[in-house]
Amino acid sequence: MTTTAYKNSAPFFGTRGLGMALPSLFLLVLFFVVPVIALLLRSVTEPEFGLQNYRELFLTSTYSRVLYNTFLVAGLVTSISLFLGYPVAWLLSVLPPRKSMVIFAIILLSMWTNLLARTYAWMVLLQRTGVINKFLLGYGFISEPLPLVNNLIGVCIGMVYIMLPFIILPMHATLRTIDPAILQAAALCGAGRWQAFRRVLLPLSASGALSGSLMVFVMSLGYFVTPALLGGANNMMLAGMISQLIQSLLNWGLGGAAAFILLSVTLALFAIQMRYFGGSLMGAR
């Protein structure tokens, strides 16, 4: 008695819906997965088969310094952003919507403004004849212009500037979920403000802070534009080194190896973030 029944609300274009995803899949595999794997393969096959590229990267001082510098900067930027961003996230989480709207607008605007424009601004501000030095000289705080750019300080300032929104927003999201009544309960139990902060608020907000920090750290590791423009020859970071190795020196083996190191650290940290924090995803630019 059963005739062939018609199933009508199935996704179209066959094979249970997979068909619709094929164009995107092909695009990503052909132009993303394959090239990246090919690049990594080159790192172990050029100039000859083996891990000598990696040995060179880790053992030659020029290259290992870059690795060290990259992690140093990423660490500095992350810590500074964390300390500066936490109070802002805190305030945002307790403010009523109308007051916090302006602050949010500023944060979002700064996030979406062109990266080059923002970095350029700091290049100008920090130069020897720039506003900051002129201000400090003019008021007698210093007698000679400070070297604020083309060095570690410039890179850190510039990167913190970029990364702040990326750490404020997730921390704010976490802080928002904490019920204020918990802190009130802590006060009723007799905890002073510092104690309540240390024993209650900090642990509860730790996951948001750590998750945001991890994200900022990962982004800082792979950043290209800002360190290249604001840093000097002595503080080249991984991304800049990869670019130079390949574009200028055409050393695909070493470049590929450096890229693989960056890639694997990024993936490892991301895996940690997914596992422990169910991380949200933001891009590295």
């Binding site: 995803a21 990503l28 690049l39 802002v88 890639l263």
Partner: protein, 266 residues
């Protein structure tokens, strides 16, 4: 008391102080660039001796700036369209599909967002060198689409997941074929997600620097590439003009999208 705004006492002052400083820190450089672009000093002396619009005139008259801007715009438009189309199809597949490995596929779709762009740039630069797509319009579009696609995918998927499929079923019962129901009912219902996807995709392509640096050829340069080149050579105020225009465009697009969104959710 730590999380109750009215009972925070002196803590409030401390938090406000830092927040205001940070807000200044965030906004002043942008405003500064805007001011600089009107200053007459070619060495970016601030405060400038006088005000002028010649940097903007220079921007609009010099071929390298205008061509780059046009190129950027063209690429961004094509990227926007292709990213949204791919995002739509991928989204429907993931949200409605019943095939195994959905989670893996979904993760794959997000990877361009996670991995450092420089690695992708180098890899695709290598590929394009081999197949002759380096420095071509198509090459740019492909690379930028890959970068923009995850954002489009996430935005549309969020909207689609929130969409109540019973509404689509109701349309089918009303007599619309499944495809008709999607076109007439589902797509209009998720238009906010599609709009966000389009906006993100456009901005990501428009602002994109790293891939562009690798992809650019003397004949095909996007605006960020020209700015980048100029930044490494000399810090002329024309860059300030270009940057301010970039900021204004972004701002305009976001405001426009906001207004558009308001009118859609009347």
């Amino acid at each position: 008391m730590l999380l109750s705004y009215d009972r925070m006492g002196s803590l409030k002052v401390f938090l406000w102080a830092i927040t205001l400083l940070i807000c200044l820190f965030l906004i002043v450089p942008i405003l500064f660039i805007g001011a600089l672009s009107f200053g007459s000093s070619p060495w970016l002396i601030f405060p400038p001796p006088s005000w002028t619009i010649k940097w903007y005139q220079q921007f609009f008259s010099e071929p390298r700036w205008i061509n780059a801007a046009t190129t950027s715009f063209q690429i961004a438009v094509v990227v926007m369209v292709s990213s949204v189309l791919l995002g739509l199809s991928a989204s429907f597949s993931i949200v409605r599909g019943t095939f195994p490995g959905k989670f893996l596929l979904r993760t794959l779709f997000m990877t361009p967002m996670i991995l450092p762009v420089v690695v992708f740039s180098v890899a695709i630069y290598m590929l394009f060198l081999r197949i002759g797509l380096g420095g071509t319009f198509i090459g740019f579009v492909i690379a930028h689409t890959i970068l923009a696609f995850p954002f489009a995918f996430i935005s549309i998927t969020n909207s689609l997941e929130r969409f109540d499929k019973s509404i689509e079923d109701a349309a089918i019962l009303c007599g619309a074929s499944p495809i008709q129901a999607v076109i007439k009912i589902t797509l209009p219902s998720i238009r906010l997600g599609i709009l966000s996807a389009a906006l993100f995709s456009f901005l990501i392509s428009w602002d994109e620097v790293v891939v562009a640096i690798f992809m650019a050829s003397p004949t095909l340069q996007t605006l960020p590439v020209v700015i980048w080149g100029a930044l490494r050579q000399e810090l002329t105020p024309t860059i300030a003009a270009a940057s301010s225009l970039l900021v204004l465009l972004t701002l305009a697009l976001i405001v426009f999208a906001g207004v558009f969104r308001k009118s859609l959710t009347r």
